[in-house]
C-alpha cells in the first residue's frame, strides 16, 4: 500500500471541502426554488384546506411566460418579471373562479381530481402555446461567478436567493403588517370567526389563490435561466415543492422555508455523494420518513391526522 504524502492529503481534503461547498451552493439555490413553490402550497392550504396538484403547472407557466417576455420579446428584466407574475396570478384567479368555486361538496378526493384535471389542462395549454420544445433564457445579469474558497457561486444563484429573500420578507410583512394580510390569516384560522367580524371569506380565498399562484409564477421566473423550460416541467417541480411543504409542516410558512432548503441541500449532497440518478428519490424518501415519524412536519406539533 502506498502512503499518500502529507501535502497531497491536505490538498485532497481541500478539494473535498470545495466539492461540498459547491454542492451546498447548488443545494441552497434549488432549496430557495423549492421553498418558493412550497410557500405557494402552504399559503393555499392554510386558507382553503386545498392541495393544488396543478401548482407545478403554474410554475411552468411562469417559466414559459418569462421565456416569452424576457427571452423572445427582450423586455427589460423587472417589467418582464412583473408581467409574468401578473399573467400567472390571473390564470390562478380564473382557475379559482371557474373550477374551484363551482364545487359544491369540496371533499379532498374530488378536489384532488379537479386540480389534477387542471394540471393536465394547463400542460396541454402550455403545449399549444409554446410547443414541445424546451427553451432556455440567459441569466438575469452577466456577472462572472463568484469564487468562494474555490467553489463557484453563479450570478443567477445570487439572483435567486435575493429574490427569494425579498419575496419571503415581503410576504411576512404583508401577513403581519397589512390589514388584508391579517384578515387572510384570521380567515385561515377560522372562517366562521372571520365571517362574524366581517371579513369577506370568498375574497380572501381568491386572494390566497392569486398570491399562491403568483408565488408559483415567481418560482418559474427564477428557475427559467438555470433549467430548460418546457410544457412538461411542472409536475416534478410541483411534487417536490409539495414534499418540501410537508417536510416543514403543511400550512406553515416557516415550515415551507425550512423544508425547501433542507430538501435542496440534501438532494444536492445526494447527487454529489450517492448517485445522480436517485436524486429525484431524495424528496420522496424524505417525505415518507417525515410522514412515518412526525406527520405534522418539522415545525408543527405532532397532532396531525393520525388515527
Amino acid at each position: 500500500m502506498e502512503l499518500i504524502p502529507w501535502p497531497e492529503l491536505h490538498a485532497m481534503d481541500q478539494s473535498i471541502m470545495q466539492e461540498i461547498l459547491q454542492y451546498l451552493f447548488s443545494g441552497i439555490t434549488n432549496g430557495a426554488i423549492y421553498a418558493v413553490i412550497a410557500i405557494g402550497f402552504s399559503m393555499l392550504y392554510n386558507s382553503t384546506d386545498l392541495i393544488n396538484f396543478a401548482h407545478g403547472e403554474f410554475v411552468m407557466l411562469g417559466s414559459l411566460c418569462m421565456v416569452t417576455f424576457f427571452g423572445s420579446m427582450h423586455l427589460p428584466l423587472v417589467p418582464a418579471i412583473i408581467l409574468t407574475i401578473i399573467c400567472v396570478a390571473i390564470a390562478g384567479l380564473v382557475f379559482e373562479r371557474l373550477a374551484i368555486r363551482s364545487v359544491k361538496h369540496p371533499e379532498p378526493i374530488v378536489l384532488i381530481i379537479i386540480t389534477v384535471g387542471a394540471s393536465i389542462f394547463l400542460r396541454g395549454l402550455g403545449m399549444i402555446i409554446w410547443g414541445k420544445d424546451a427553451y432556455s433564457i440567459p441569466s438575469f445579469s452577466s456577472h462572472p461567478p463568484l469564487d468562494i474558497a474555490g467553489a463557484k457561486l453563479l450570478s443567477q444563484s445570487i439572483w435567486i436567493i435575493v429574490i427569494f429573500l425579498v419575496a419571503s420578507v415581503g410576504l411576512q410583512l404583508f401577513y403581519k403588517k397589512t390589514l388584508t394580510g391579517k384578515a387572510m390569516e384570521a380567515n385561515a384560522i377560522s372562517k366562521r370567526a372571520a365571517w362574524i367580524v366581517g371579513i369577506p371569506s370568498k375574497l380572501m380565498v381568491m386572494l390566497a389563490f392569486g398570491l399562491s399562484t403568483a408565488m408559483g409564477g415567481l418560482a418559474g421566473v427564477i428557475i427559467a435561466p438555470i433549467t430548460m423550460s418546457s410544457y412538461d416541467m411542472g409536475t416534478m417541480l410541483g411534487l417536490k415543492g409539495f414534499c418540501a411543504a410537508m417536510l416543514g409542516g403543511l400550512g406553515s410558512l416557516w415550515g415551507a422555508l425550512i423544508g425547501g432548503f433542507l430538501l435542496g441541500i440534501l438532494e444536492a449532497l445526494g447527487v454529489g455523494f450517492v448517485s445522480s440518478g436517485l436524486k429525484d428519490a431524495t424528496a420522496f424518501v424524505l417525505l415518507l420518513f417525515i410522514l412515518y415519524v412526525r406527520p405534522g412536519g418539522i415545525i408543527s406539533s405532532a397532532d396531525a391526522n393520525r388515527f
Binding site: P108, V110, G117, L288
Partner: protein, 319 residues
C-alpha cells in the same frame, strides 16, 4: 336466496354472455385490442375501488403495484427463464408483500397525509424502475417479454388474449362481489362510514385496511402481468405518478363503491384518449377539461350522478 343475490347472478350471467359474444363477433383487431385494454384497466380500477370506494382509503401510488406485476413477470421470464404461469403468482406475491410492508406504516395516516404517503411510495418505486437499469432496462424500457402460451393454446392472437383478460376480469368481479357481500365487506364499509365507530363495534380496522390494501395490490399486479405479456415491452413511464392518478380517476369517474362503476370508469378512460386523438394537439386540454367538468358537476361519479339525475327527474314528474 334473496333478491340481491339473484339479481347479481343474472348480472354476471349476462356479463359473461356479452364477453363471449363480443369475443366471437368482433372481427376488427383494433376493437379487440381496445377491449382488451379496457379489461386490464378494469382490473386496475376494481382493485383500487376496493380500497378507495369501500374502505375509504385513498392511494395515489397504486401504479407501483401495476409496475411490480409487469416488471416482476418481465424479469422472471426473461432473466430467469421462468414460465410466465409461475411468474404470475410470483409477481402477485411480490406486490402483496411490498403492499404489506409499506401498508403497515402508511395506513396509519389518513386524508391528505395518506394520499401523500402513497404518492411518495409510488414515486420511489417508479424511480427504481428507471434507475435500476441492470435489472429493469432503465428509462429505455424492458424488451423481449415472451408471449403467453398454455399447452397448444397461444395467446399471441388478439382474440385469445381478449378471452384471457376478460376471464380474469370476470373472476375478479365475482371475488370482489363475494367479499363485498360478506362480513368483511360490511366491516370495510363500516370503516368508510366511521373508523372510530367501526373499531368500537369490534372491527380491527388496522388489520382490515392492511388486508384490503394487499388485496388491491394483487389485482393491480395481475393487471401488470397481463399488460406486460400483451405489449411485450414496458417502460417506467407507464407506471408513473400520472398512471396512479389515472387509476384514481377511473374509480372516481366510474363511481366509488361500485363494481360496475369500475368497468364504466375504465372503459371511459381507455376510450377517451382514443376519441381525443381527433383533437390532435388539443387532446390534453380537452382531457383535462372533461375531468374537471365531470368532477364539478357529478362529484359522486358518473354511475351515481346519472342515477341521481334520473331520480330527480322522476320526483319532478310525480308532483
Amino acid at each position: 336466496m334473496n333478491n340481491h343475490q339473484t339479481r347479481n347472478r343474472i348480472c354476471y350471467a349476462v356479463f359473461s354472455l356479452l364477453i363471449i359474444l363480443a369475443g366471437y363477433t368482433i372481427e376488427n383487431p383494433y376493437y379487440i385490442q381496445v377491449l382488451t385494454f379496457i379489461g386490464i384497466n378494469t382490473l386496475l380500477a376494481l382493485g383500487l375501488n376496493m380500497l378507495m370506494g369501500y374502505a375509504g382509503q385513498i392511494s395515489l401510488g397504486h401504479a407501483a403495484f401495476f409496475g411490480i406485476g409487469a416488471y416482476g413477470t418481465a424479469i422472471l421470464t426473461v432473466h430467469y427463464n421462468l414460465s410466465p404461469w409461475l411468474a404470475l403468482p410470483a409477481a402477485i406475491a411480490a406486490a402483496m408483500i411490498v403492499a404489506y410492508i409499506v401498508g403497515i406504516p402508511t395506513l396509519k395516516l389518513s386524508g391528505y397525509y395518506l394520499g401523500m404517503g402513497t404518492l411518495g411510495f409510488g414515486m420511489i418505486v417508479n424511480i427504481l424502475f428507471r434507475e435500476w437499469s441492470s435489472v429493469t432496462g432503465g428509462a429505455s424500457g424492458f424488451i423481449g417479454i415472451p408471449t403467453l402460451e398454455l399447452g397448444p393454446v397461444s395467446f399471441s392472437s388478439g382474440r385469445n388474449y381478449f378471452f384471457l383478460v376478460w376471464g380474469f376480469v370476470l373472476t375478479s368481479f365475482i371475488i370482489c362481489q363475494r367479499i363485498i357481500d360478506s362480513r368483511i365487506g360490511r366491516a370495510l364499509r363500516a370503516i368508510h362510514d366511521g373508523e372510530k365507530a367501526a373499531s368500537a363495534v369490534g372491527v380491527d380496522t388496522r388489520k382490515l385496511k392492511l388486508q384490503v390494501f394487499v388485496l388491491s395490490a394483487a389485482f393491480s399486479a395481475l393487471a401488470g402481468f397481463l399488460y406486460a405479456h400483451l405489449v411485450f415491452f414496458i417502460s417506467p413511464g407507464t407506471f408513473s405518478f400520472i398512471a396512479s392518478i389515472r387509476m384514481v380517476t377511473m374509480v372516481v369517474i366510474g363511481g366509488m363503491a361500485s363494481i360496475w362503476g369500475s368497468l364504466l370508469g375504465a372503459s371511459l378512460l381507455t376510450l377517451l384518449p382514443e376519441w381525443l386523438h381527433a383533437f390532435s394537439e388539443f387532446e390534453m386540454v380537452v382531457y383535462g377539461l372533461i375531468l374537471m367538468i365531470v368532477m364539478i358537476f357529478l362529484p359522486r361519479g358518473l354511475t351515481r350522478g346519472l342515477l341521481d339525475i334520473y331520480e330527480r327527474a322522476n320526483k319532478k314528474n310525480d308532483h
